[in-house]
């Protein structure tokens, strides 16, 4: 079965979800930076007390906030988060993530369960891994970061 069919058939559960960094709106940008550094992740999700997502704070927002006001790191997250953000339910097709990436150029997509609670994060990286896994014979054997061609000729 081709990639196109799999994108329509497979659900988001099939993607390698990343553990989401969750914070409350009252926490500071500094808290978010420290958590994102610890987690090696490019975004934090703002949640309410039932873990329902209410906003997202990304590296791109951090870059813009720092540029306009370097002192913003002590601001509350609520002053800088995006309240509209892409999200999918675990039972949605993978194609939904592809659409969010290609059409809306979103890097992160919040994944929630049927109750609306955050269960993880996916996005560009998760989708690339999914595609690579689909074509593992082609993708996983590539030379990366070495010389373009041998420096020495083959043989004795």
């Amino acid at each position: 079965m081709g990639l196109k069919e799999n994108l329509e058939r497979d659900t988001v559960e099939k993607l390698e979800l990343r553990a989401a960094i969750t914070l409350t709106a009252e926490q500071s940008i500094r808290d978010a930076i420290e958590a994102m550094r610890r987690g090696g992740l490019g975004c934090a999700i703002i949640v309410d007390d039932q873990r329902h997502p209410t906003g997202i704070f990304t590296e791109a927002m951090l870059r813009n906030a720092i540029f306009h006001s370097p002192e913003c790191v002590d601001d509350q997250l609520s002053e800088h988060t995006a309240e509209t953000f892409p999200w999918v339910v675990t039972s949605d097709p993978v194609e939904t993530v592809l659409d969010a990436m290609e059409i809306k150029n979103h890097r992160f997509v919040v994944v929630v369960d049927e109750s609306g609670a955050v269960v993880g994060l996916t996005g560009q990286k998760g989708l690339m891994e999914y595609v690579a896994d689909h074509f593992s014979e082609e993708v996983m054997v590539q030379r990366v970061g070495a010389e373009a061609y041998p420096n020495h000729r083959e043989g004795a």
Binding site: G2, L3, K4, R30, I33, E34, M36, R37, G42, E59, A60, L62, R63, N64, I66, F67, P70, V73, L98, M101, E102, N105, R107, Q124, K125, L127, M128, E129, V131, A132, D133, F135, E138, V139, M140, Q142, R143, V144, G145, A148, Y149
Partner: protein
Amino acid sequence: MTRPENNQTEFQDPLENYDSPTYDDSIEQALVEEPVTSIQSRPYASVSPDIRVADAIKRLVEDEIACLLVEDEGRLVGVFSDRDILDKVALEFDDMKDRPVKDVMSPDPVYVFDTDSSAAALTVMAVSGYRHVPVVDLDQKLIGIISPQRVTRFLREHAG
């Protein structure tokens, strides 16, 4: 002495049974047979290693991009991205803003050659874990950059 031709066995081409590959999927064929230059890699934004960190951030903001290629005389020496701002600049802005970007960029980035197959760009993203993949020619001169969005567009075009 025997004549050489009397002692020779008949030449057998080791590739005579070679079957050219067949593909189940048009995307699979594109990944193997089309070079990375089939994926859009321009425009790209680049800066000198000596530009101030504050000015590099300004460039990212004004161009609404997440990654700058750092090039020195046409050669790729590093990348400066949102991740570098998060990890090295955000909490240290006052100390870092006037430093040259070469102090905080990620040096020696993983790149692909323009002659590589398009699958190589996916490898860098999926295996090495980098979202932006610089493309260089065989003389290491910078040609462009491939983003996940550009790869996605490439996949869509070949999905039919």
